[in-house]
């Protein structure tokens, strides 16, 4: 029997080196792409940011131009998340913990299919069908809840409002939040589920005690990914929303989102106008970055109790 020398020839290490090199390259590539995009946005946006106020669209400077559409973007995204998050978590819980196995697989597949529908189709559906069907509801809201500024009448006759856009967006972000949440829910350690059940917890109590706390960081990540899509979604909003000036009412036409503003105006823009739109893109980029950082902060805030230790 010959002993293997401790000083190995290194032949077995080649795989390690290639793999770590490839992983490093992939990591660097991400940073390079991100940095490249940021650099492009900043360089191209500078003319708009430094131009005299009168030359920017609207004639009152870049800030006056951008803030209404920032608010519009946030309104649409918030509506989408407020509608989609509870539904998505409910559907994900149903698939992971309540549905019989056969039904769960089918339902999971259907939800994933929702993500495969192109956004222009959602836009067409929202503009041609949903807007029309939902406008009676807007009239009702205007008549009965009109005292709330967000439901102030008169409601849009076409139904092409920021609320409709938000609803369409919610359908689009639903599959993202649902599938990610479902995966996290399924990963809940059996041990923790059994701990709750053995104490005499009902199924719902077990979910509250072990599944949801375990899944909390994952749900936040899923919602943030959904938010990313809602903030950046272009085609659906451009088709559904009959845009205009910023208004508080969600059921009148008006408001605009950054992504739709860029998409609608970019093809015919030139000179400073292009720069203005790119600056708007830069703002969207910064908003998304900020949202993700806040999400990270929320996740790490409870690290001590996360179960990772």
């Amino acid at each position: 029997m010959t002993a293997t020398p401790v000083t190995s020839t290194g032949a077995g290490r080649a795989g390690d080196k290639i793999f770590s090199g490839a992983a490093l390259a992939a990591g660097c590539l991400i940073l390079a792409v991100l940095f490249g995009v940021a650099l492009f946005l900043v360089v191209q946006a500078i003319p708009a940011l430094t131009a005299p106020a009168a030359e920017i669209q609207g004639g009152e400077g870049f800030f006056a131009y951008i803030w209404p559409i920032v608010i519009g973007t946030l309104i649409a995204a918030v509506i989408a998340l407020v509608i989609a998050t509870p539904i998505a978590i409910g559907v994900a819980l149903f698939i992971s913990h309540f549905a019989p196995r056969g039904l769960a697989a089918g339902l999971g597949y259907m939800v994933d299919l929702l993500a495969a529908i192109p956004s222009v189709v959602y836009g067409a559906w929202g503009a041609a069908f949903l807007a029309k069907e939902i406008s009676p509801a807007y009239n009702w809201l205007a008549a009965n809840m009109g005292w709330l500024p967000i439901f102030q009448g008169p409601a849009s006759a076409t139904g092409k409002t920021i609320l409709t856009a938000g609803i369409v967006l919610s359908v689009m972000v639903l599959p993202i939040i649902t599938s990610l949440s479902r995966e996290i829910f399924l990963q809940t350690p059996k041990l923790h589920e059994e701990a709750a059940l053995a104490l005499g917890a009902t199924r719902w109590e077990m979910i509250k005690m072990s599944v949801l706390p375990f899944a909390r960081p994952g749900i936040i990540s899923a919602v943030m990914l959904g938010l990313g899509r809602a903030l950046g979604e272009t085609m659906a909003v451009a088709l559904v929303l009959s845009s205009g000036a910023l208004t508080a009412s969600l059921i009148q036409s008006g408001n605009q989102t950054i992504a739709a503003e860029i998409a609608l105006n970019f093809p015919e823009a030139s000179g400073l106008k292009v720069s203005t739109l790119i600056a708007a893109g830069l703002v969207l980029f910064v908003i998304t970055l900020a949202v993700n950082m806040i999400a990270r902060w929320i996740i790490t805030r409870h690290k001590e109790f996360s179960g990772a230790n």
Binding site: R101, H192, A198, L199
Partner: protein, 259 residues
């Protein structure tokens, strides 16, 4: 505060597979009963039928009766949730809720089913349960810290505190020391000795010395071969099982000879 369990002709199935066959056993109140036997002999499966935890797996079902002081746990209209609140369980690996503090872990079972409890009562209960689990002195200054920060043995005692906080009739322990070091194991064994003054304790263990140390009665389970159902071979006073068993299989197992 403790009840006896009488099992009559119990068969446990997973789907069509018969996992445990025809078990009849009487478990005395305020005593420790140990289940021993080789891996896969169905002792853990059988233990889990005593509080209907096996039903967590799809397709699991039983035939026969499990009587808790005469009440059939598998009778019509019996809610497994109620069964489990009366028959507590401690698992193989310590499983405190990682997102809860030590205090909240102890109170987890008490707060179920929308029960409200005042802060004063909760404080008393937390202290009593942790003292009952011999953990109070080690954690009394850090009740608001997460339970997952404790050592394995402390976590397991926290799980016992959580189980006794709801004042169950019976405590089932599924190899509670198999993930623990010898010193923590000793602490748990001492605790089991104290628990039997108030509770009926059933413990599954791979460690025969442990069964001999902690239990009053011992049940030996065995399996004829892979794919065959597990069976209860013999049950009796621990002393008898280890020194003078009736069955040859039991003697072979407790003396370390398999065959």
């Amino acid at each position: 505060m403790s009840k006896r369990i009488d099992v009559k002709d119990l068969n446990v199935y997973y789907g069509d597979f018969l996992a445990v066959e025809d078990v009849t056993i009487n478990i005395e109140a305020k005593s420790v009963t140990a289940f021993i036997g080789p891996s896969g002999c169905g002792k853990s499966t059988f233990l889990r039928t005593l509080n209907r935890m096996h039903e967590v797996l799809p397709g699991a079902r039983v035939e026969g009766e499990v009587l808790l002081d005469g009440d059939n746990l598998y009778g019509p209209g019996v809610d497994p949730v109620t069964v489990r609140s009366q028959i507590g369980m401690v698992f193989q690996r310590p499983n405190p809720f990682p997102t809860m503090s030590i205090r909240d872990n102890v109170l987890a079972g008490v707060k179920l089913n929308n029960k409200k409890i005042s802060k004063g009562e909760a404080d008393v209960l937390v202290e009593r349960s942790l003292k009952g689990a011999n953990l109070w002195n080690e954690v009394k200054d850090r009740l608001e810290k997460p339970g997952s920060g404790l050592s394995g043995g402390q976590q397991q005692r926290l799980c016992i505190a959580r189980a006794i906080a709801v004042e169950p009739q019976v405590i089932l322990m599924d190899e509670p020391c198999s993930a623990l070091d010898p010193i923590s194991t000793l602490a748990i064994e001492d605790l089991i000795n104290e628990l039997k003054d108030q509770y009926t304790v059933v413990i599954v263990t791979h460690n025969m010395q442990q069964a001999a140390r902690v239990s009053d009665r011992t049940a030996f389970f065995n399996i004829a071969g892979t794919g065959k159902p597990g069976k209860l071979i013999e049950v009796g006073d621990t002393q008898t099982i280890f020194s003078n068993p009736v069955q040859k299989a039991t003697e072979d197992y407790v003396s370390g000879r398999f065959g």
